[in-house]
Symmetry: D2
Subunit: 434 residues, 4 copies
């Protein structure tokens, strides 16, 4: 049985290909800067958007009419699983990601949810064995059920915190069992709707405790994957505590978690927070916190999470430069947290979205690698900061001189001469490779 009977496994055909559904740039075995493309990207399909989202928005119901979405039984979940792995396999995606509710109905109680999850985990394991597709990360959905309307870890009611703990324990253990490489916490409703009814300090303490509990449990069960939290500024809440990478860094340091937890950085969330994606990558990288990536973009004119597939080679080239500068994405990967548009109602549109995105990332990697190999950009930047590596620069930065001693240097030195930042030249330089 197949849901995509007309779709053949997607193949690499090279840039000149006229086939709509072919890879022009993404060749998993191609070596770039010492690693294969497969190793660079570790692409993962997002179960929720690709398999579970029906094409609804706030102004209308679903448009896709997928048969496995006709009900919420375990049987529907099994049907969905079949389609999922057919899709992963035909696409050639090496990984997937899931929330508990994506793969199985959670029922009326924690106990029922755990039982269903155990039953489904075996089926998932079978599919993974059969196809070779692996788990990039698992996560628990702590934001959809009405019990979480005022947050999960940050809920004013400790009983909700406890229920959330139960969901996370099961998904963390399941992720461990399935050999997952990471476990992610996205705090969808860990924020507030109105500051009038909210104690921010109290809620942050709750959130700090919750993440600490997850870290402790990870070590207890021997899970060696990364724990990740995910910056997002708002939506569904007015304000989300994990606003951006910097807010996450402040949070992790406050609760002593900065060695234990890294960030899953998303394009769309970066732009909603008023940042470029490359900024969020560069900042996270500079703090030693870059853990994994969600590749879905927003729409620069729309102020909500549109979760679109990426389509800008130029933007992704800047992103890939940061990722290469970070030494790659490590145990993380490139997760498609992307929805096809509500009007994209053909099953093939799912492939168009993913194939285009993988190809775009591959093309951006090639461009970034060419920039690195060319060396002009890096050389310019190294020269720009060269003063800090010689003379009194290193001592100043190392704290060996006092304010007055440094000021004394300025008294006796000739006035500093500004140098051109050469932004236009550098932008043109990048465009030679894009």
């Amino acid at each position: 049985m197949t849901f995509f009977p007309e779709i053949e496994p997607i193949r690499f055909e090279g840039p000149a290909s006229k086939t709509a559904l072919a890879f022009r740039y993404y060749d998993p075995t191609k070596v770039v800067l010492g690693k294969t493309m497969a190793e660079h990207f570790r692409f993962a399909v997002a179960y929720w958007h690709t398999l579970c989202w029906p094409g609804s928005d706030m102004f209308g119901p679903g448009t896709f009419g997928r048969p496995w979405q006709a009900g919420d039984s375990f049987e529907h979940a099994v049907q969905k699983l079949d389609v999922a792995f057919e899709f992963f396999s035909k696409l050639g995606a090496p990984f997937f990601c899931f929330h508990d509710v994506d793969v199985v109905p959670l029922g009326e109680s924690l106990r029922e949810g755990w039982a269903n999850m155990d039953r489904m985990a075996d089926l998932i394991a079978g599919k993974m064995d059969a196809t070779g597709v692996k788990l990039l990360w698992g996560t628990a959905n702590l934001f959809s059920h009405p019990r979480y309307l005022a947050g999960a870890a940050t809920n004013p009611d400790p009983a909700v915190f406890a229920y959330a703990a139960g969901q996370v324990q099961k998904v963390l253990e399941t992720t461990h069992k399935l050999g997952g490489a990471n476990y992610v916490l996205w705090g969808g409703r860990e924020g507030y709707e109105t500051i009038l009814n909210t104690r921010i300090g109290q809620e942050l303490d709750q959130l700090g405790r919750f993440v600490s509990l997850v870290v402790e449990h990870k070590h207890k069960i021997g899970f060696t994957g990364q724990i990740l939290i995910e910056p997002k500024p708002c939506e569904p809440t007015k304000h989300q505590y994990d606003f951006d990478s910097a807010a996450c860094a402040a949070f992790l340091r406050k609760y002593g978690l900065e060695k234990e937890v890294k960030l899953n950085v998303e394009v769309n969330h970066a732009t909603l927070a008023g940042h470029t994606f490359e900024h969020e990558l560069a900042y996270a990288s500079s703090q030693g916190l870059l853990g994994s990536i969600d590749v879905n973009r927003g729409d620069p004119q729309n102020g909500w999470d549109t979760d679109q597939f990426p389509n800008s080679v130029a933007d992704w080239t800047l992103a890939m430069l940061q990722i290469l500068g970070n030494g790659g994405i490590g145990a993380g990967g490139f997760n498609f947290d992307a929805k096809i548009r509500r009007q994209s109602i053909d099953p093939a549109d799912l492939f168009h979205g993913h194939v285009g995105a993988m190809d775009l990332c591959a093309r951006a990697l090639l461009a970034a690698a060419a920039i690195v190999e060319d060396g002009t950009l890096d050389g310019f930047v190294a020269e720009r900061y060269a003063g800090w590596g010689k003379g009194t620069g290193p001592n100043m930065l190392a704290g060996k001189l006092s304010l007055a001693e440094i000021a004394a240097l300025a008294h006796d030195a000739p006035a500093p001469q500004p140098k051109s930042g050469r932004q236009e030249y550098l932008e043109n330089l990048i465009n030679r490779f894009v």
Copy 2:
């Protein structure tokens, strides 16, 4: 000699006053929740916008035609000083704030700037003695001179860092000499224009060192005032490192400065960063970082720093609730970092801006105090979080239970029942007091 011959000292006349330039709510001696209004606010006039800004914008030169802005000599600075203290006194502002370049020409070298500053400091001290006006904070302008085009502390050239150190040393010492209550660092160009020529980690390390040097020097000279940094997301740079309170918290913790440095939170910078002002206050307060306040607002439809005088009682009531919740503003104060509009070309307009703002803050304090005294809001919130203070709540939060132990509680408890957040009720409640 007077620049405002028609303006009498502004008096408190009560809410029914028909006088345009009178206080209707701001009565410095009135006691509210145990402190006088003067103690609550510690209002400060900003030398730069009020005395130095000529009414220019990016599309046209100054419109105000102030005589002391006709040149940049020391004599012009003295003339400006006279007008400044006439203004402070007639307004009844107990404090002022200044950058070095606001009060004196800095000349061609650090040495010349230091000499001019010393000479001016004596004149300022004389004015302070004569009028009783005090210094809320001093600061060095490290962003206007072309030498700082690529930043001061974060400049790629250590010679610029050293020059900046020289400016800060002198203003910090002058602030100390004048009995200033705080010293502020606003990182106007501590950020970047293009990530292409920028090493974020390197620049953050430079900034961390710079602030550490200031803290070390403060202790060395015996200055007991607060050191403050000021969140702002952008402008003039594309991205400023002190993006918002959370980014500042991450920064201070990274460099071990969180016990030494607090934040000067500004309304306009909060909204540019995508936050409400009350959020930034609440967050900073929850982190023990709330130091002082700039009261100038932005325009919600415009994406740049409009630096307007506040005019929303409702917004300020929410802010005052946070400030009262913080136990007040401590050694900080309420600085008007606000410009009258370019069209407000009459000298009297300077008074209209400040008087309206002081009155607005006073009215908001009265409203906030009434809400506190009424107790309904606090009672609602306390009840909302009551679960965390009883049963297993405190133990969960204190780390005495593991993830599995907490999950076990959820297995056996009845399903948690959501409660109304009552946002509409609370918003109506607030409006009864505004």
Copy 3:
């Protein structure tokens, strides 16, 4: 049978009332500037948000658990109707508004929808007779059903256009039968998701034709109410053609509809488009296009339609000044297109939202009326433009002088002298009345 057993009809109790659910300012019989408050506002409850929305958002399902939302049968619709009119009556709202799908299931075909609508119209008429509640406007939902995924009037498929025509014909006729005062067209998906597959000129021509058809049909059936279109910039589409009042004015003039159609201006849509609400009102009024109002606000920090109840007296005072300047809202009214928050799960919260909003508008009316009666503001503005009413001003504006003749005046006149715009003074003046 009642759904709100504990709620008594809301009464006016005056500003000092301690009752949570009472009017403090809204007294329908109170005369302000020659009209009763009831006449000023013509408040209308929005069937969809108040009765039909289940408390869902993009990250979770409904939270309200209303019994009549348990199914989509005609019987559920009847149950909903009962609750609706209980709510309208207890609230004291004189009007309501509805989409066809709000009040009745539309079934699988246009024919079935028409039949259901006819059957329901009689029930609605009965309720209206029994309670005295009237219909402010009706409208057809042309955006939720999947057939409209690419627009209704602007759909690439004329069969969809025709289906939409069928829905509108029936609701327009039903509105006429029920004595509705207006008919509204909101172009929820009359826009585009990607310009790549879109012909803007073609789609605008379709939309122009569609609105013309509605106007022609209105005259044919003798409906004398206003036809209204509603500006909104985006959401659910990336770009909506009725972006703002100016885009609507351009559209209406292009298709010769500016005498036939007016605008239903919404607060939230104004702010999403980058305008203040008072701007949209002032612009629409200046063009003779102000028709009716949706009072729901957005959240200034969130970029989507939050549809919240209004809570700023100051903002609404500025709005009421524009509405008073327009001579009132005429045959239009004040529709609550507002949702209580997803966390506001108690039935009473529906009352808190509406009561607070009505009271806020009433308070703003009193403030605006006081400003008008005081006359200072109007006097200032009249004086500011006085030059255009005397000397050569009227002739210049009337086109009686050529460019060269006007320039010649400037050659011989003394240089024009700028005057203060006095923004700070005016903002303070307004705050005396708010």
Copy 4:
């Protein structure tokens, strides 16, 4: 004498060139879709940003130190003229644009300004003759001088309106004398700072009259170039009446100017107004109003006019598709209203900005032309709307069927079937050509 001694005239060297300052794609003689690149673009250098802007921003003075900016005498203006035409010539830009104040000091009176302009016009004409560089458009600066602080045409004082008329008359006549192809009106302060002191309807009537006067004068003097107005939503004012293309269309139609005036559409102004640039082009084109283009972009994260040189091939390919669809830019052109960054202090940076931008546009033209020649995109869109060209479609659109007749069609037809909009497929398709 030369200001750019090291810069050789920029040459076309092809995509493989390693020369920093060479054209890789812009070959003025290359024929694309039947026109040379020179004819497609008609590139123009903006006198103000390139020659007059000193590198200042709101937080610091100029950084460039150009000798001709050291004073404001006629001699400085002549020195600037020399550099200007050296720059135009070395760059190979066929056109330039100017404001009156860019090229000459306007002095203390209109009379003095006219005399200076006449004197300078002869010098400009000489330079144009000598170099072959032509004038794309002239314009009067009606926003910098303090007399215009409350607007020019929309000023409350008719004397300011008259002075503005005098400036425009002279520049329009000078533009005519110099053989300019267009005359532009940008309403920098034709808007408001606060609605409290503003009568929108009155000001729009003034603006309508002003533009009408310009059109009348154009015909009187026999100027056959286009008159253009320029959409911008805000900055320096809070709200500018020419908000976007739609607001301009509404304005022109209100005052009967839609056959006489077209739009100068700018990238940065489009994005500030919440639109994509391609949207503004497509809309203006669909209304027959596309007149000319300013190519400068904004920064998507910054809310002010950054006026940067374009650097996105992908964005410009979408723009070029719209321009090709409009049949080209006609008598308009591509004006660089772009500033190099404040840090780009080397004279060569001026060349990097312009050369990169011209090359980018050329590359985008090649991509757009390839998409057009490929035909897949156009074919898809034509097929999408095919229904409107057959069956009852044309009659429905032509107004030959009533609402009821169209509804009757829907009663009897099978339910319309939605089709995929194929956004992901189309985005991938575009990326094959970019």
